[in-house]
């Protein structure tokens, strides 16, 4: 069965997106990302020496199947985000942009107002915009209206590993969305990723849980398998959950 995810002009056979932060070395990062078979890998612009082609991190991600997804982590306003995106487009030769605007440096929660503003402008400038946002169904529709190519609602605060604390809202978003829904942030265990996929998310993005694991390579493989399993379960249509056992003597049998 071919199960291909399409975002803008690109197709992905892996629905696991990964990140580059928090690894103990560039080699460990490379090994883990290769093991995950992820085809879309986000990288914080602020960590990269944009004018240096031999930047360690960029060099170690130089593989044919890996698409780099620069992110705007560190910016606090729409204006800064647009500036960062333009810098990234020039330096990394990609118009794909993970839009992250979190003015709050503690929980790194996204600013919905600035994000919508920036998304609108970036779409006009020809970017493929992947906005990191709260699991806010209305915001997702508003972003869709301005032309983003997907939405990336959070499961829990970045790096918290708490799982899908927002699942009730994620379900609404998935139900309503006309663009791919990628659950980003908070996914701390393969079971969380599988759950997101079972709910019908189009993909998940995982970084901390892999980077900080005792063995990042094994954890990357575990996530790869969980994402595939969750997706397959979703496609196979999960049996409905029954709250109570079905009575063996139905109350309405006398009607027959």
């Amino acid at each position: 069965m071919t199960d291909i995810l399409q975002i803008a002009d690109k197709t992905f056979s892996s629905r696991l997106f990964t990140g580059t932060g928090k690894f103990s070395s560039s080699e460990k990062m490379r090994e883990a990302i290769l093991a995950s078979e992820s085809e879309l890998v986000t990288v914080a612009l602020k960590r990269v020496e944009v004018e240096n082609k031999s930047d360690d991190m960029l060099k170690s991600l130089n593989a044919e199947h890996i698409n780099l997804l620069p992110n705007t982590s560190g910016v606090r306003t729409a204006k800064e985000a647009v500036f960062a995106a333009q810098l990234a487009r020039e330096a990394l030769e990609t118009n794909w942009m993970k839009l992250e605007i979190h003015p709050d440096p503690r929980y790194l929660l996204p600013d919905p107002i600035e994000t919508l503003k920036a998304a609108e402008e970036l779409v006009k400038l020809g970017f493929v915009v992947m906005p990191y946002i709260h699991a806010d169904p209305v915001l997702c529709k508003r972003l869709e209206d301005v032309g983003v190519q997907c939405v990336m609602p959070l499961g829990a605060p970045i790096g918290s590993n708490k799982g899908l604390k927002t699942d009730d809202f994620l379900k609404i978003i998935i139900e309503q969305s006309n663009v791919p829904v990628i659950v980003d942030a908070g996914i701390g265990a393969p079971s969380h990723a599988a759950y997101a996929m079972e709910l019908g998310a189009d993909a998940v993005l995982v970084n901390t849980a892999i980077a900080v694991a005792q063995c990042p390579v094994d954890m990357a493989v575990a996530f790869k398998m969980a994402v595939a399993a969750g997706r397959m379960a979703y496609s196979a249509k999960l049996a409905p959950i029954k709250e109570v056992a079905e009575a063996s003597s139905p109350l309405t049998s006398f009607l027959n």
Binding site: G21, K22, S24, K46, R47, T72, R76, K79, T208
Partner: protein, 368 residues
């Protein structure tokens, strides 16, 4: 609103009594909690928490790893001037010390920059004494403009300034300001800062508020350990931190842990802070706050710095010189304090990697 209102709700002697009256049972109860309050922090820095040090260290390690990953941020201080009109009894730059005074020229700054860049640094900390006529806002602004193409992240540790001055320097490219209260004990503060602008305790205390209002990216806090009881001073520092986080929520915070070191001056440490005390404090901060940056300078010894990497610290310096022009000019004749860990940047990188961490040199970019 200013920190002063919060500050005045507390009394030093009462806090000290409370901290020293904590029992082991209370510490054990706090360590069972999922989130640590300021009151809990007070319990964790008490003498009664000493038997729980390993437990605190394990938890601090885990929390730091979750938030910051397996990385340590590298930075280097660059001293621009040792001219100073303050008397600080513990400081080598104090006005009364008969040392040669020096303020770097443009050429000298660029020479230092070239050397520092060769070492690989991208985050720099500018340091001066307080000499407003020669090393005032315009000198600092000029220095930032001079070096900003060479560094992606510029912090400074200079005299407290006004909000408008901070805004001007941020416009020029300033990212963070470190301003330590030295001690939150007002009477002791006066004893150690008898003369100069720095003698104004409350102007200094309000400095982080002015920085917050200016919208700075990061504020560094700390107390100079040795002037007073480190436990009480640390409680006030944590109180300050929590107030600032609530009030200036877009700003990031860091804590530094300067312990008084031998220097050319009269005053030697009044209150000793042992290595175990410092570890306890670092872990207590991490348990209080997952995301606050904790910074470790070269004041500390090799052994201590090797072992602290895993305990909650998130940024460190290496081979620091604390005299203006120290990286490229002559001997260490004008230094502020003696550094203890003199290993090279290469050796520190190696030490960090051996422990399974990645030394990070660049983690910022100015998008404007």
């Amino acid at each position: 609103m200013a920190f002063k209102d919060t500050f005045e709700q507390y009394d030093w002697d009462t806090l000290e009594r409370e901290i020293y009256a904590v029992t082991e049972a209370e510490v054990a109860a706090v360590l069972k909690k999922e989130s640590i309050s300021l009151d809990d922090f007070k319990t964790l820095i008490s003498p009664a928490a000493k038997p729980f040090l390993e437990k605190m260290a394990q938890r601090s390690h885990q929390l730091t790893k979750k938030r910051f990953g397996n990385t340590i941020q590298m930075y280097l201080p660059m001293y621009l001037s040792n001219e100073c009109q303050n008397i600080c009894t513990y400081c080598g730059f104090s006005m009364t010390n008969k040392i040669p005074r020096k303020t770097l020229s443009d050429a000298e700054i660029l020479k230092e920059v070239a050397h520092i860049k060769k070492l690989g640094y991208d985050h720099i900390l500018l340091v001066t004494g307080e000499a407003n006529r020669t090393v005032g806002v315009s000198y600092i602004k000029h220095a930032i403009e001079l070096i900003k193409d060479h560094f992606s992240n510029i912090s400074m540790e200079v005299q407290p300034l006004g909000q408008a001055d901070y805004e001007l320097l941020m416009e020029a490219g300033l990212y963070a300001v470190l301003v330590y209260q030295e001690t939150y004990h007002e009477a002791t503060y006066k004893v150690h800062h008898p003369k100069g602008k720095k003698s104004n305790f409350h102007y200094r205390l309000d400095t982080p508020d002015r920085l917050g209002k200016a919208g700075i990216h990061k504020i560094g806090l700390g107390a100079l350990f040795g002037l007073e009881d480190w436990r009480v001073d640390s409680f006030y520092t944590a109180l300050h931190l929590k107030y600032l986080q609530r009030t200036y929520w877009k700003t990031k915070y860091s804590i530094s842990f300067p312990r008084l070191r031998p220097h050319q001056g009269d005053v030697q440490p009044k209150v000793e802070m042992t290595d175990a005390d410092l570890v306890q404090l670092i872990c207590a901060y991490r348990l209080l706050d997952e995301d606050v940056e904790l910074s470790m300078s070269t004041r500390e010894s090799e052994t201590f710095r090797n072992n602290i990497i895993k305990l909650g610290i998130t940024s460190i310096s290496a081979e620091s010189k604390t005299n203006p022009g120290g990286y490229t000019a002559e001997p260490e004749s004008l230094e502020q304090f003696e550094i203890s860990d003199e290993r090279s940047t290469g050796e520190i990188k190696e030490m960090i990697r051996k422990q399974g961490y990645e030394p990070v040199f660049k983690d910022w970019e100015v998008f404007a």
